[in-house]
Every structure is written in C-alpha cells, then in structure tokens.
Amino acid sequence: MTRCKRIWEVEAERDGRLTQEELESLGRHLTTCADCSAERHALRALGQRLRELPNSEPDELTLRRRRQELLARAHAEHVAVEGPARIRSARALWWLPGVVAALALVWWLRPTQEPAGQRGAAASELPERAVVVLTPDRGVQYERRIEATREVVAVRQGRMSLRIRRRPGDLALVLQTPDGEIEDIGTAFAVHVEDGKTRSVEVFEGRVVVRLNGRAPQEVLAAQTYRPYQGEIAAESPSTPQDAPGAPPSEAAPLTTAEPESAPAGPRRGPSSLAPSPRPRRSPPAQAASVDGPSEASPSAAEAFSLAASRLESGDVGRGAVLLEQFLERFPRDPHAEDAAYLRVLALLRLDRPSDARAAAHAYLARFPKGFRARDVERVLSP
C-alpha cells in the first residue's frame, strides 16, 4: 500500500519548514487525507509521550544549596577576572592616572636609601596577568593577548621558551599552537611549531598538559620532551632515541637567552635565570621512551590497553582483569588509565569477586576522585 506523497509535509510543518502558503495548502489537504492526518497524530503523540517522561525535580532546599555552590565556585573562578575588571574600573576613574603619576614622581624624586631593585619588587605585587617571561628564538611568529579570563600566547611558527610564575589572582595562561593548546601549570617549557603543527614540547620545570586537536590530553613532566608527530616524521620503534635523524632540525638549535620580550610586573630576572634549568637538551633514550610513561603515540601503552580490552571482549574476563591491573601498574599516567581502572572494577564484578571489585573501586576513586565514572564506582562501594 503506498502512502500519500505529501506525507513528508507533515513533519516539515512540525519543524517549521513550510511557508505560509504551503501551510494553508497542507491544512486543506489534511481535511481529506487519512494518511497525513494519521501521521500528524502520530508525531504529536510521540512529542506528548516524550514530554511525559518522568523527570523529578529537586526540592527547594537542594535548589538553594546548588545555587550557593554555583555562586561559590563562580566566585572562586572570578578571582582570575579581577585583573581586567580593575583595568576597566581604572578607565572610569580618568583622573586617577594623573594623581598616581604625580605621586609616583614625588616618590621617585624623594631622597631614599632604598635600592632600586626593591622598588621593582614592590611593583610586582600588583600583577594583572601571570608573570611570563618569553624567550623567542629568532624568526618566531607569535602574538600575546588577554582574553576574558585568560592570557593567551599564540605561537604560529618557530620555537619559543617560556617561564611562567602564577600566583593566586593571576590570569590563567594558555599557549596556543595552530593544532591545539598547552595549559601551563606554573613551569618553564619550550614549544616548537612548524608547518602548522606542534612538533615538540620540552618541559624544564613543573609540568604542562598538551591538548592537541583530535588527541587525548598529554601531560608532560619536567625533563621530558613530547613529540606528538614524531611517528609521522620517521617511523621509529618506541625505544628509538628521540634524537634520531628525522627530528625537526631546528630542535637542535641552542636555546637562546635573549632579552625577554616582556616581563610584566614580575620580579626582574637576569638572563641566567631565564634560561632553562641545566639539563641535557636531548633526552637520553630511557627518558625519551617514557615521555610521561606512555604517550598516546606510544605503542606499548596502546597495545597493552588494547590487549586487555580484547581479552574482555572475547569473554576471557579473568585474563582481561589481570592485564588491566598490569596496564595500570606500568602506565599509571596513560590517558587510558581511567578507562582501565573502571573496566577493571566491572571485570571483577563480572568475575563475582566483590571484595576485589571493592578494592579496585577504592583504587579508582583514590586515583580519579573527579573521574567520569566516579559516581558509578561509588555505587559499587555503597552497601
């Protein structure tokens, strides 16, 4: 039995795709067409059923509590916005700069025994953005700007090293590259961009998180170098030292200790303190192979996880659980670690080993207290 050819118009009407003329025409058609009338009724009924799905509302007390939590969290984050806000309010007080300048002049002209360095240090107590010391290599293309709640350094091409000191109240700093961004966690590091790709991220102190488009976030610790596209440049075994031929040639260039582009409101540092901490610029093979233990590109981590997962898929849950445990021991920082920890809980439940599953659940929560599946795992522990 063929249905009315105009039946599509019923859905189009519902989605607001018809013109006034078409609507009128459909209205006339509906008075005579049983197919289209039934379709219209069916679509309305589906909408009605969807709206009637149970959806309990929280009580008033919970709502108030959530509201307070939200405002408290927003307030905590707002600390980072205070810098620009101060700038804006300063614009409104147009007369203030003149007064401040006059006072500053008086301050500088007054006789004092205070060393100049201390005056610089006093000024540094009012930072409006993170203290960032940029050391760009020759020819590097970059820009630096302040967006609403963060300071952005965008490197388009070339190599640049950064030393960042953030204090409470400083803007968050994000280093953007053409294919991703690097979140700084108070550190010194260098980034090299070439042909629109992040070729390497070297961390000298502290740690950074590298987020490249289409890849899992990669944490890079001090004394490590992350080369996300190394596999593309030269197909190397995981144990191949990172200095292998084929690495971007500019990486061999010595790190410049040129004058910083700017060091706003921060303690003045001599060139020596701007240079990265003394460490071999090229990681030894053992370190290179363990860029953050398992980088996403590291076949050993990926293979280990995929082997464990395939065991689970094939129904060999016992072996899968063992392999997951081994994976977690070997690659605790791998991006798959949370999945592995969660799957292990499920596997142990499946094996009917509740006490082991509870221990695994405790381990998951200790490691990923705010993990994606933390709430699920908490249920394993609930009586």
């Binding site: 859905e11 989605d15 607001g16 795709r17 069916a42 679509l43 589906l46 909408g47 059923r49 969807l50 709206r51 799905l53 149970p54 959806n55 309990s56 509302e57 929280p58 709502l63 959530r66 509201r67 939590e69 939200l70 405002l71 969290r73 927003a74 307030h75 984050e77 707002h78 916005v81 205070e82 806000a85 804006r88 609403a148 709640t149 997962a309 689970l312 898929e313 094939s314 129904g315 849950v317 899968g320 999945d339 969660y342 799957l343 499920l346 596997a347 439940l349 499946r350 994606f372 599946r373 709430r375 699920d376 795992v377 249920r379 394993v380």
Partner: protein
Amino acid sequence: MTEPVLRVPPQVIEETDAEALARVARGELGALGVIYDRHYLKVLAFSRRVTRDAADAEDIAQETFLTAARVAGTFDARSSCRPWLYGITARLLMHRERALGRVSRFLGRFLHHAPEPAASPLDAMLGHPLRDELEQALAKLSPEKRMVLLLAEVEGIGCDEIARSLGIPVGTVWTRLHHARREVRKRLERRPR
C-alpha cells in the same frame, strides 16, 4: 475623615537575560543567580533526559552555568538565553557521552550479550536496564539525535534556534530530527505498549 490614599502599584522592571549576562561578564556574580533562578530547572531537566542519571545531570547542569559565567560576554542578546544554555549543556553532554562510549563499546562481548540500554555501563553490568520502552528507544539513539529530538519535542525550541545553539546547519537539525523520530517510532512499533 481620612483622605483617600492613591495606591500606585510598584513598577517592576525585570532585567532581561542579556542584561543579566552582561553584568555577569562585568564580574557581577549576583546576576548569575538571576540566570540560575530562571533557567536551572529547565537545564537540569534537559540534562536528566539526555543522561538518564540524576547525579551526572546535576553535575552537567552546574557546569553549564559555570561555563556560562565564563563566556557570558559572548551571549548574543537573544530574548532568552535558555537555548544558548542548552547549547552549552549539549557540548558538555557530548563530552560525557564520548567518555562513556569508550567503555561501553567493550561491554557487548564482555557481558556475552548486547547490553540493554542502561543509565551507565555499571547499570548494564548489574542488569539494571531502563524500564520504560520509550527511554530505551531514546537511549539507543546517538547522542546527537537524542539531544536534537529532546530540544525540539520536549523543550519546544525551534529548529533555527537549535541550529544556532549547537553551531550546526539547520539542515542538519532537520535531518537528525527526522532520523531520530523514525528510529524511535520503529522501536516502539516493534514493542507495542
């Protein structure tokens, strides 16, 4: 004799969403409370319908408003910010779905049978499927289709507005809606009430 009192009703000037968000962007966080009071329940309900998990839904709803506070300056002064908030929620939900999906794909063989749609992999593992057949049919939709269907049919947002909020072409919204309705109806027809 008392003189008649002229009673003038107090003038109520309600701040628009755009004005409240502009204040949030200026750092006046009290205005975030205004936005919360107006839209939180709706955002939470949408989040619950998509996730089918009360705790996750609350987290996502909370995160939606925090994100809104961060990007308040980008609000384009529509009359209501609710579709804009839904757009933020949808992005957060997609992030969650992707994370859950990574694990869910291992569960089929793991459980020796295709898992029934459940609120989480753990529920699937423990054999706690969704009871309602319509919820099951919804759960089997891809998250993209599920969100568009819920926004259109439950929240009553127009296709143009959905497209704008999710940052996709309106044609994509129509296509997703069409397929979502067809898939849900097919599943419901297979399992008559």
